[in-house]
Every structure is written in C-alpha cells, then in structure tokens.
Symmetry: C2
Subunit: 146 residues, 2 copies
Amino acid sequence: MFSKATEYALRATIYISQKSSVEKKLSLTEIAEAIDSPPSFTAKILQLLTKDNCVIHSVRGPNGGFYITEKDKHLPLKKILEAVNENDLFDKCILGLKKCSETKPCPLHFQYKPIKQELIHLFQTNTIQDLSEKADNESLFINNAI
Amino acid sequence: MFSKATEYALRATIYISQKSSVEKKLSLTEIAEAIDSPPSFTAKILQLLTKDNCVIHSVRGPNGGFYITEKDKHLPLKKILEAVNENDLFDKCILGLKKCSETKPCPLHFQYKPIKQELIHLFQTNTIQDLSEKADNESLFINNAI
DNA sequence: TTAATTAAGGACAAAAATACCTTTAATTAG
DNA sequence: CTAATTAAAGGTATTTTTGTCCTTAATTAA
C-alpha cells in the first residue's frame, strides 16, 4: 500500500505525538528504536516532516530532538502524506492508466471510486492526535510492542 | 497502489480477454503496444500468467501468441494478483506493523478494515470477463485510447 | 570559550523494481 | 527438412527505493 518511507513517517509522527512535548523532545535514536525503523533512513524522513516546520519541529544540540506542538496535532494525516510526497496516491487510476477519467473510465473506475473516496476521507478526517490517542488506548508502540 | 508489474498484468489480461480466442492469438508486440507497456518487461509478466496455464495460455511459433479460454475468463481478478505475487497486498497492515492484528491493532486498523474488505471483495467478485466487457462498453484499450 | 550532543545535509552503497537483450525451444509453412 | 516465426529463459542494464556514513551546523553546559 504505502512505501517504507511513508510507513515510517506515519509511525514516527504517531510516536512523537504520543511522547513528545516542547519540554520533552525525542532523539532520533529513541524514535527509530520505538517504531522499528532504520535510524539513518528515518532521519531523512524526519527532515521532510520538519521542513518549514510543516508537521514536526526539531532542535539541535544537547536535550534537542523532535517534538510536535499541540496545534500541529490537529493536522490531518493527509499532511504527512503530502510531506513525504505520497499525496497523489489516491488520485491515480488503479490500472495505472494516464487517461482514465470520469468520461473515459477504466474498467474498474466506478467500482474503485467509492473505495478511493473512503481512503481519502480516512486520511483527511483523522488527525495526528486522533491516531496517537488510539495508539495509547490500544497500546501499540508502547514498550516496543510492535 | 499496485506495482507496475501488477498494472501490466491486469491490463494485459483484460486486453487478451477482449481480443483473443483459441483461433486468434495475440503476439507480445500487439499486447504491449495496446496496453502501453514495455514489451520485454511485459513478456516476463505474461510468463507468470501462463505458468502452469494458470490464467493465460501461450503457443510458440508462427501464428502463435497469447490467448485465454472462455472458461478462464470466469476467474476472478484475484487470480491475476496471485500470479504476480501481489496477493498479500490486502493482508498487510497499512502502517507496515508486523504484529498488527485484531487483538493488537494499529491505530488505523479498525478504520482501514472495512476498506480493505471492499478491496478484497472487488477483486474476488469481478471476473476477467466482467472487466473486459466493461472495457468494451467504455472503449478503453480500444484504438489505443489509453 | 571549549567540549559534548544532537539534527541537517551531502555523498555513497545496497537492494529491489523495472526494463532490455540475446539465445534457445517450439511450432508452422513451404 | 529447412526457414521463418514466436514465446521461454537467462543474463544484463538502468532506475528507484531503501539504507548508511561522514562532515557540518546548531545548541547547551561546564
């Protein structure tokens, strides 16, 4: 479904949202360990998320690390997909046809359409906070229960 | 959503289903041109589909080529995904967590579940024939209208 | 001010997916 | 039987994705 990069981005953001605050920043090492991802690659992905402070914030130096503001917790998951350039995922034709459209639909177009809508809806309506609350309740990511 | 390999497999099968019969086999060249795919790569994918006659049949030599039987047109699209080893696509956790399950769900698990079910349903209930009929009606693949 | 710590940024490496090419095998027509 | 045609099979090349490493910049604490 998603690329590794996107999976790590979503998992990292959920974890950061659960555990961080302006007072308590998380190091790359902790994040990568918690979400079971390669640290160096994860660093690259976090760079995309911190670019222009779009989702995550970062501070260098001792006691530095990554964190998210309360305000940004209300961003939809879609924002994360955009940050890692996987936003057009749900726009594409399921058969990969460039010219597939409402007027020139592929054979799966109208059956896939409502499913696509639900996927878009899922990522537009769920906020980062929504997900991190669920993760809390359901104890995923906690104690490395991956 | 799908890999290029899977897209080509689906498109090729639909095209073969529309245009071929035991009497009228289609050459690799014709298929690749019609579905707008790289011929050599398409050849590899067709090999997967013809392996053990699982979906498509092939005959070598003059007037040889690829075709599908009426019987095999009633196979579900799922069969094509299996042939190109992309069958587990809809089994995986959307966040890529190995341990995600009903009892230990990821934060998106229960929201993604019904969508996943619809995707599975789509590929299990639609047959190759269903799709090629739609393609006929909606004129995709016809006259290279890709 | 200096040393330590942490992310940023760039270059590089490995793996996987995609695409190409050449030879071989099967089949058919002459 | 021979030549032509077409897919099968294997190896190779390219591109993309994934992953690593090293140096630089920022920040903090002593």
